[in-house]
């Protein structure tokens, strides 16, 4: 994947809250990837972290709906800040 800007790629666990993020890649087996893709998490799609819980559990906004993501899942999603 080519990136034109130079914002660093981080896992969702460490991404900032409240700013627009773009999904760079997902990992964790194709069933998991396909599952989150059907919910709207796939490369190049934008999302935003709404709330942060302990150990990387998150609530995010994506495609107009809110998703809760368990701890351990957020590190399988790599994102970068959209500038």
């Amino acid at each position: 994947m080519t990136t034109t800007d130079n914002s660093p790629i981080v896992s969702l666990t460490f991404a900032p809250t409240g700013t627009a993020l773009a999904v760079v890649s997902t990992s964790g087996g194709y069933e998991f990837q396909r599952k989150i893709a059907s919910l709207g998490i796939y490369p190049n799609e934008k999302l935003e972290i709404v709330e942060r819980h302990s150990q990387g559990a998150l609530v995010i906004n994506v495609k107009g709906s809110r998703l809760a993501i368990g701890h351990g899942m957020s590190r399988k999603i790599k994102v970068k800040v959209v500038q």
């Binding site: 819980h53 150990q55 495609k63 709906s65 809760a68 701890h71």
Partner: protein, 715 residues
């Protein structure tokens, strides 16, 4: 002449699908299970013009890949049963995500009607949808509805009537993706057609897409075909080329193209006039899913639910009890007083007492179902699963397992039924098997009998608390054990939609509660009836012909004595009870009690406890009345067993008493629980596994506690 047509309703979870279904069919619906799996199948019907339409409500899904049993069912129903039309319900306020499923119906090439539900929400958010244009792009009829207010439902019925009569005109448009993906699809599709390897009922293009997506079930289907291996090989070549070209896994490429198609469509038909603002749901969530307040808030709410369950349920319970009492008296009156008829005893002491003893809990169970339906309907359950996920993960379970375990403190039956929300079988089975360890409401009478009888007032609360804690700890250990042996595998990743909060309609809550209550009555009821008869036979046969004393003579003696009426009554009662106890010890139940006494010894139990335990199998709280019978105290009021409370300490010590409670907590769940486990797991094996497993566990734990207790006492 009325013609019959079958259609299906499909859509995302939280798209308001069920409210549309309820509005269409009203109360004319029927809940069953799909064959072989325990996904609920709800079927209803309605009339439009001269057509009778039968509607199946498919499980809510986000996609039609083989990700979960629900998704598989949804697509297999469409492929194999070929409904006349798929009515696709989408949330109009969240069109982009919802059309992802719509697109997959189009890929299947089935006749479809698109229903833009919750259109009021969409306009509130300032979203305008050009329905005519959307219909033209997708080649389908489009209807706008507000399901929970029944708006647009009549129009939907009319359109369904029109479409089923000439369905060929309403085949949705073929989806065309950009060449990057379309070329491999067409190439693979051609290979399939040329090879003549298209299984019955499938379409070449759709199979091609599924193969490129690496769909597990379709790959397995081809592996079983003769010409399939070759197809799979060719598919692999195409996948590799595609992945090299785009530098992403093929299943992601397919997803991206689908969303690409959708955002293109949305750009043409949707216009948003308002900026997205922070809505009410978000405000509620900032409190409800708060990392510190979230859990206490939830526990408080559940306390209220349980409190209401038992306070509101109480008067109804008394009515049911009184009703069965009246029925028993009424049936007894068919026989002349004093006559001993086996049929009368079977009807009154066996069936009415047995079935009644369990049905008494119906108000509590129905109320718990109601509470679950309301909490589910508002969207709160999804939040609970999320805040509990981390904790549950530690014991190898999913956040969604928490709700069933909690409901288990009320009653195991609704708890086991609510494990349906768990998609992975290993999570679901583990939860189901350990739920009975949560100390349910029916065990409370046992504790209420024993604790005041054996323990000093200041220790009472602590003893009770320790029983509950032991149950929870045992459940945790068992869950861990099961997840690392029989149900091995990784934890299911937690990703869940948090739908906007809604006020559920009375109708949908009512239908939900009623449907589940009926299932409980039907499934548990028949088994309880059978068990009541068997246990009655065991407790009454063989009959002892020669009793040690002639009790009638003794009664007659008392009656002629100089005692006051009150004293006579008491004496006669004692004699009758003594007779009952003598007869009981001669019956099968009594004999089993005697026979297993050596086995019960390590736990500190005698044959009397053994006999009462067998009698308490239909429902745990029957233990109290059974103890009353074996101790020759006659009828025991479960609420206030004063006589028994005085009697027990003469026979047992505190350690034995504690062991009785412990055994009742851990051992075989009641018949209703076993019946529901059998239904929900779809196998007798797991139901019996639960029965035997828990009993063995109870035996081991109680024995250890008793033996260690003896040692401690000795020092």
């Amino acid at each position: 002449m009325t013609k019959k047509y079958e259609i299906v309703l499909a859509g995302n979870p939280n798209s308001g699908k069920t409210s549309v279904f309820n509005a269409l069919t009203g109360a004319r619906q029927h809940v069953g299970n799909y064959p072989g799996v325990t996904v609920e199948q709800i079927v209803g019907s309605f009339k439009t013009g001269d057509c009778e339409i039968e509607v199946t409500d498919l499980p809510g899904t986000y996609s039609l890949t083989a990700n979960s049993p629900e998704e598989l069912i949804a697509r297999n129903v469409i492929i194999t049963e070929k409904p006349e039309v798929v009515v696709n319900i989408v949330d109009a306020s969240n069109l982009e995500r919802n059309l992802f499923l719509t697109l997959q119906f189009m890929e299947l090439g089935v006749p479809m009607i698109l229903v833009l539900n919750m259109i009021d929400n969409a306009s509130d958010k300032g979203i305008k949808i050009d329905t005519e244009r959307l219909g033209r792009l997708f080649g389908t009829r489009v209807v706008c509805t507000v399901g929970n207010r029944s708006e647009g439902i009549n129009e939907l019925k009319k359109i369904i009537g029109e479409v089923v009569r000439e369905k060929d005109k309403h085949l949705s448009e073929k989806v065309t993706y950009s060449d990057e993906l379309m070329l491999p699809i067409l190439e693979l599709s051609k290979i399939l057609t040329d090879n003549n390897s298209i299984p019955e009922g499938y379409k070449a293009d759709w199979l091609a897409i599924k193969l490129l997506e690496k769909d597990k079930e379709i790959i397995e289907l081809f592996e079983s075909l003769e010409s399939g291996k070759e197809v799979l090989k060719k598919a692999d070549v195409l996948i590799e080329k595609l992945e090299n070209d785009v530098d992403e896994p093929s299943e992601i490429i397919v997803t991206e193209h689908r969303y690409g198609f959708i955002s293109g469509t949305c750009r043409e038909v949707v216009s948003a006039t308002l900026q997205k603002r922070r809505d009410i749901s978000e405000a509620i969530d900032s409190v409800v899913t708060h990392r510190i307040f979230g859990i206490p808030l939830f526990l408080g709410l559940m306390y209220v639910v349980f409190y209401l369950t038992f306070t509101i349920g109480d008067p109804f319970m008394n009515w049911i009890e009184a009703g069965f009492g009246w029925l028993g008296d009424f049936i007894s009156s068919w026989w002349s007083a004093g006559s001993e008829s086996s049929l009368k005893s079977l009807l009154v002491d066996g069936i009415i007492a047995g079935v009644g003893g369990v049905l008494v809990f119906l108000p509590n169970i129905a109320f718990l179902f109601l509470a679950i339906a309301i909490l589910e309907g508002t969207g709160y359950m999804a939040r609970v699963a999320f805040i509990m996920d981390r904790l549950m993960n530690k014991i190898g379970l999913h956040g969604k397992s928490f709700i069933p375990m909690l409901i288990g403190f009320g009653c195991s039956v609704p708890a086991i039924m609510s494990t349906r929300t768990l998609t992975l079988k290993r999570d679901r089975m583990t939860t189901m098997l350990v739920v009975p360890l949560m100390s349910c409401g029916a065990r409370i009478p046992i504790y209420a009998l024993i604790i005041p009888a054996f323990f000093a007032k200041r220790w009472e609360a602590l003893v009770m608390f320790s029983i509950y804690i032991i149950g929870i700890i045992t459940a945790i250990i068992c869950a861990k054990l099961l997840r690392s042996t029989l149900f091995k595998g990784e934890n299911e990743p937690f990703v869940m939609e948090l739908p906007p909060y809604r006020i559920p309609t009375l109708k949908s809550v009512g239908i939900h509660m009623w449907g589940r209550t009926v299932v409980y009555l039907q499934k548990a009821g028949t088994l309880i009836l059978a068990a009541s008869v068997i246990l009655w036979i065991m407790a009454n046969y063989p009959k002892k012909d020669k009793l040690e004393k002639d009790y009638r003579v003794e009664i007659a003696k008392i009656e002629q004595s100089q005692l006051t009426t009150k004293q006579k009554e008491l004496k006669i009662r004692d004699i009758k009870n003594e007779e009952m106890a003598e007869r009981l010890s001669y019956t099968i139940t009594g004999r089993i009690g005697h026979a297993i006494e050596p086995a019960l010894k390590p736990m500190g139990f005698d044959w009397k406890i053994g006999t009462a335990l067998i009698g308490a199998f239909p429902a745990k709280e029957l233990f109290v009345s059974q103890m009353g019978i074996v101790f020759a105290l006659g009828e025991i009021d479960e609420e206030n067993p004063v006589a028994l409370r005085d009697e027990l300490p003469r026979h047992y010590n505190g350690l034995q008493a504690y062991c009785i409670m412990l055994f009742c907590l851990l051992s075989a769940p009641c018949i209703a629980t076993i019946a529901i486990t059998r239904r929900e797991s779809n196998s007798w094996f797991w139901a019996l596994f639960q029965l035997v497993g828990l009993t063995v566990l109870a035996y081991i734990v109680t024995t250890i506690v008793y033996q260690v207790g003896l040692l401690v006492q000795a020092f």
